[in-house]
C-alpha cells in the first residue's frame, strides 16, 4: 500500500467502500482502514449517508400478513436451548454461504480490539485460496498483539477434520501456528512472518492438530502475506 496516498484516492476509496464495490484484498484493506483511521471512517460514513438517499425513490410495499406472526414465533424460539443449536448452525451456514464479504468485514472489525501500542504498525494479511480460486480463508497478523486472526470465507467444513494454519517462510519449512475453525473467526498467538515472500497455508488435520509438527493432511488453501 502506498505510504503517502493521494487525498483524491482516499475520497474515492471511501466512496467505493461505502457503495460496496470492493472485494477480497481491496475490501479488507479498506475495511481495516475504516476501523483504524477515524478521519477515513467519517468520510466513509458521509458517503454512506449520501448514497442512502438513493433508497428514497423505493416505494414502500406492505409485507404479507404472516410476516409479523412469523417474526414473533422466531423471537419466542430464540431463547430456547434447541433454538440456540439451530442458530449456531445458521451462523455456520452464513459464514460459509455469504463468504468473503462477511469474513472480510468481520476480520476488519477485530481491529477495534484495544491494541497495546498507539503507533501505527503495519499488519500483514493474506487471502488463502484453494484450487477453485475463491478465497477459502482470510488471515491477518498483528505484530503488536503477536496474533493471527483467521476468518473462513468460502470453504466447506470437512467432518472429523480441523483447519490448521501454517506459516511458511520463503524457501523454508512450514511452522505450525494453530488450529482455525470452519465456522467462525479464530485467533491464536504466532510468530511474525520474517522476511519477504512468506506464505500462510491451511491443511486438514485430525482433532488436536497435526501430531507431527508438519502438515499431515492436504493443504486446502494458500496465500502470500503482504503488509497492510
Amino acid at each position: 500500500m502506498d505510504p503517502t496516498p493521494d487525498p483524491d484516492d482516499i475520497h474515492a476509496l471511501a466512496a467505493e467502500l461505502a457503495l460496496g464495490l470492493l472485494e477480497g484484498d481491496d475490501l479488507l484493506a479498506a475495511a481495516a482502514r475504516e476501523v483504524g483511521d477515524p478521519t477515513f471512517a467519517r468520510e466513509v460514513e458521509a458517503w454512506r449517508s449520501r448514497f442512502a438517499a438513493m433508497a428514497d425513490e423505493i416505494a414502500p410495499r406492505k409485507p404479507p400478513a404472516d410476516a409479523w406472526p412469523r417474526l414473533v414465533a422466531s423471537l419466542d424460539g430464540r431463547d430456547s436451548v434447541v433454538d440456540l443449536q439451530l442458530r449456531r448452525r445458521m451462523r455456520t451456514w452464513r459464514a460459509l454461504a455469504i463468504g468473503a464479504v462477511a469474513a472480510t468485514v468481520a476480520l476488519a472489525a477485530l481491529l477495534v480490539w484495544p491494541r497495546p501500542s498507539k503507533a501505527p504498525t503495519p499488519m500483514f494479511m493474506a487471502s488463502l485460496t484453494g484450487a477453485e480460486g475463491a478465497p477459502a480463508f482470510l488471515a491477518l497478523y498483528d505484530p503488536v498483539r503477536g496474533r493471527y486472526f483467521v476468518a473462513p470465507a468460502t470453504v466447506e467444513a470437512k467432518p472429523g477434520r480441523l483447519p490448521e494454519l501454517w506459516l511458511i517462510p520463503a524457501g523454508g519449512r512450514p511452522i505450525a501456528v494453530g488450529l482455525a475453525e470452519f465456522g467462525r473467526i479464530a485467533t491464536m498467538p504466532g510468530p511474525a512472518p520474517s522476511g519477504a515472500g512468506a506464505t500462510l497455508a491451511v491443511s486438514l488435520e485430525p482433532p488436536g492438530g497435526s501430531p507431527t509438527g508438519q502438515p499431515t493432511g492436504p493443504v486446502i488453501a494458500k496465500g502470500a502475506l503482504r503488509s497492510l
Binding site: 460496496g20 464495490l21 449520501r50 438513493m54 428514497d56 410495499r61 406492505k62 409479523w68
Partner: protein, 206 residues
C-alpha cells in the same frame, strides 16, 4: 404513496402505518434495545413497508424478500442497541441500510444480480415527495439526484447498479465488457465529480 393501510379488526394483524418522525422511531429503537416487544411491534408497524420495499427492489422476488425481511427484523432486534442517535444518522436511514445490506448479501450469494441488465435509460426523476418525509431528507435526495445527472449516463447507471443490485467492480466490469482497471478509473473520477458537486450544492458537509 401514503403508505397507510386499514387497521384490521383482528388484533393479530399489524397495521402498516405511515412512517413516524425521527424522535418516535429513535425512542422505539431505544426500547427495542431493552427487548421491549411492544416497541418492536410499533417499530415494525411504522417501518416494515419501507424495509419490505427495499428488499423487494433489491431481490426482485417476493419469496426471497419475505425471507430477508425476517432476517432484517431479527437483526434489528439484536442490534437496536447499536443505533447511536448522536451520530446524526436518522433511524429510518439506519434501518434501511440494514435492510439493504441483508438483501445485497442474499443477492450476492445467489449471484442473480450478475444477469440483471444495467439500467442505462433510467429517467433520474425527482423522488416522489412523501408527506411524512422531513425536508432534510428530501433535500439530500434532490442533491444526490442532481449530482448524479451531472455524471455520464453510464457512470450514474453503474453507481445505481452497485447500490440496487449489489454489483462490485469485478461484476460491473464483466457485465459491461469493460476492463477492470478502466471501470475503476471511470468510477473514481465519477466519485470525485460527485463529491465536488455535492459540496458545491451544500458546502463541505453535503
Amino acid at each position: 404513496m401514503s403508505g397507510a393501510a386499514a387497521v384490521a379488526a383482528d388484533g393479530n394483524d399489524v397495521a402498516v402505518k405511515r412512517p413516524e418522525d425521527r424522535q418516535s422511531l429513535t425512542s422505539a429503537l431505544v426500547a427495542v434495545a431493552r427487548k421491549d416487544r411492544a416497541a418492536f411491534r410499533r417499530l415494525y408497524e411504522h417501518t416494515s413497508a419501507k424495509l419490505f420495499g427495499v428488499c423487494l427492489r433489491i431481490l426482485q422476488d417476493a419469496g426471497e424478500a419475505e425471507d430477508v425481511l425476517q432476517d432484517v427484523y431479527l437483526t434489528i432486534w439484536d442490534r437496536a442497541g447499536r443505533f447511536d442517535p448522536t451520530r446524526g444518522v436518522s433511524p429510518i436511514t439506519w434501518l434501511s441500510a440494514i435492510a439493504r445490506n441483508r438483501a445485497i448479501d442474499r443477492v450476492r450469494a445467489s449471484k442473480t444480480h450478475l444477469s440483471r441488465p444495467i439500467e442505462f435509460a433510467v429517467a433520474l426523476a425527482d423522488p416522489a415527495p412523501s408527506p411524512a418525509q422531513n425536508t432534510e431528507a428530501a433535500e439530500a435526495s434532490r442533491r444526490l439526484a442532481d449530482c448524479l445527472k451531472e455524471l455520464k449516463a453510464e457512470h450514474a447507471a453503474y453507481v445505481r447498479a452497485a447500490f440496487f443490485d449489489g454489483h462490485t467492480y469485478a461484476s460491473l466490469a464483466s457485465a459491461n465488457g469493460v476492463p477492470l482497471g478502466t471501470m475503476k478509473v471511470w468510477m473514481r473520477r465519477a466519485f470525485l465529480r460527485l463529491r465536488s458537486c455535492l459540496e458545491r450544492l451544500d458546502g463541505p458537509h453535503a
